[in-house]
Amino acid sequence: MKNEDIKILVVDDEEIVRESLTGWFEEDGYTVDNAKDAVEALNKMTRTRWDIYFVDIKMPGMDGLELQRRIREIDNEAIVIIITAYASVDTAVQALKEGAFDYITKPFDPDQLSRLIRNAAKQRRLSLENKELKGSLEQLITPPEIIGSSQHTEEIKKSIEVVAPTNTTVMIRGESGTGKELVARAIHAHSDRRYFPLVTVNCGALSDSLLESELFGHEKGAFTGALYRRKGKLEIANGGTLFLDEVGTIGPKTQVDLLRAIESKEFTRLGGNETIRSDFRIICATNTNLEEAVKEMKFREDLYYRLQVYVIQLKPLRERPEDIPELVNYFIRRYSQKMNKPIKGIDREALDMLMAYSWPGNIRELENAVEAAMVVTKGPSLQRNNFKLNHSDQPLVFSSDLSLAEVEKNHILNVLQAHNWNITTAAKLLGIDRVTIYKKLRKYGIQRPKNA
């Protein structure tokens, strides 16, 4: 931004001041105009947006202080510099309290005025640049889309809107593949922390000691292989959000350290003494029964209550099948672009089949199913035979030829598959305890598949 792009308006009732300042700023290459009083200045403001105002504090009619307030109402970021005589320094101080950039007393020292205008122009340039960059960032940080219009999805969207602007810790619960990370991203993208990083840690993928080092960082030589000092995710998330996925898998020692770090926002790197301060917001997710884990002393109760401040419970897809058509169409649009395949939509019959399916892998499974169908389809729309679903062609029908034992075996298997092999949930649904279900599994030779 060149000097000529900075627009200065000099407002003073003394002609000599107006002319001299206008001439001085013009020599410096700024675009300058002047006004003899506040009314003329306000009129000029309606036509042009001025960057810097030099306002005399004592003017007939509306004084400089009042004019400053009016300027603030119209453009809160404009820079106002108050011109004053020695006698009215008190009023100038009042102007500063009300947001003036600076004040200058008559007669001006040329050196002081030069510095003042340079600093004011610099400030204005930075402020405009900052605004522009934020605008570009806004375009980049588009919040992820939450697809679906079921009552449940609408409630989730509302919850995100409510909790995002706060600093509250959020616990997102739901089965695997229900979109917990997507909700975490949406919360971050709608929060004031959106210009800072969203750091994701998948606690389940790391051993306890690795997770500790990942979260808190380490000093050089803290342990074998620690060749360099490394910042932890808590430190990297400064100003932003830390998303702890599969929080239920954190080991007991790390739970203690994490609780302390969350409460005090202070921690030390492994092998270090320096206290690091970091301002982060915690969002965590789990698909396990944390209450059970607390009862079994596997998860600390204090950490549980610290994390369980605002809970968003995501329902599995089978409990909100009305979201399926929108999700399918969304994935079709996304993969048509990615694969450059002009698929228009999905057949009614195929959609009915998808809506009837239990989706144990939830939205993730649906996405993969749509992607796979898009690969094999040859027509302009997806058809029933393009989908290869587990048991999609085997609805839950109990034939009269089956023995009671076979019916029991099939039913247990179906319930387990429907609940992603969560033994506790399945046992609760079947109305038996966990020990009994394990006995039945052994009895019927049912084995948990490796990918469940």
């Binding site: 290459g29 040329p110 050196d111």
Partner: protein
Amino acid sequence: MRKIVLVPCQFEPKSLMPSLRKRLEELLQIPVHIENMYCQPELFFDAQRSQYNALQILQSLPEIESQKTLICTAVDLYIPIFTFVFGLARLNGCRGIISSHRLSPRYYGLPNDAEILLKRLIKEAVHELGHLAGLKHCRQFDCVMANSATADEVDIKSEFFCPECHSRFLRHFNT
């Protein structure tokens, strides 16, 4: 081509005037003359400030379109809104003024140094003549058109125009 006329008016030390004229002619490649003109700064003396109003001094001089007139004085100049000025000239005007008062090392409690004073006077004269040619302040720190509000800042810049200011200056004087 317009000529440049230097008008000494209570200027001290007088011995610097020929050197100033010669150097300006070398730098600007334009004829520079020294002429006497009726000029009475004492009429515009402000007793309260113990300074002379530069604006009023300039306004008291006749406007001669065919030449650029530069008053050289040793009195302390001011304009009402500023505590002092080294010199004054209107953009595209034909009258300007410079003062040796605050350019002299003696003003800052240092020993008299004619060489330093001459260098500063040359820069200030070229600077004001630049304004008379329509040049604004330049952002190149070493260009003579760089804004300088202190004697130190005058010392930092050179006595030459940067290429862009130079071509603008020549365009003005050749039209």
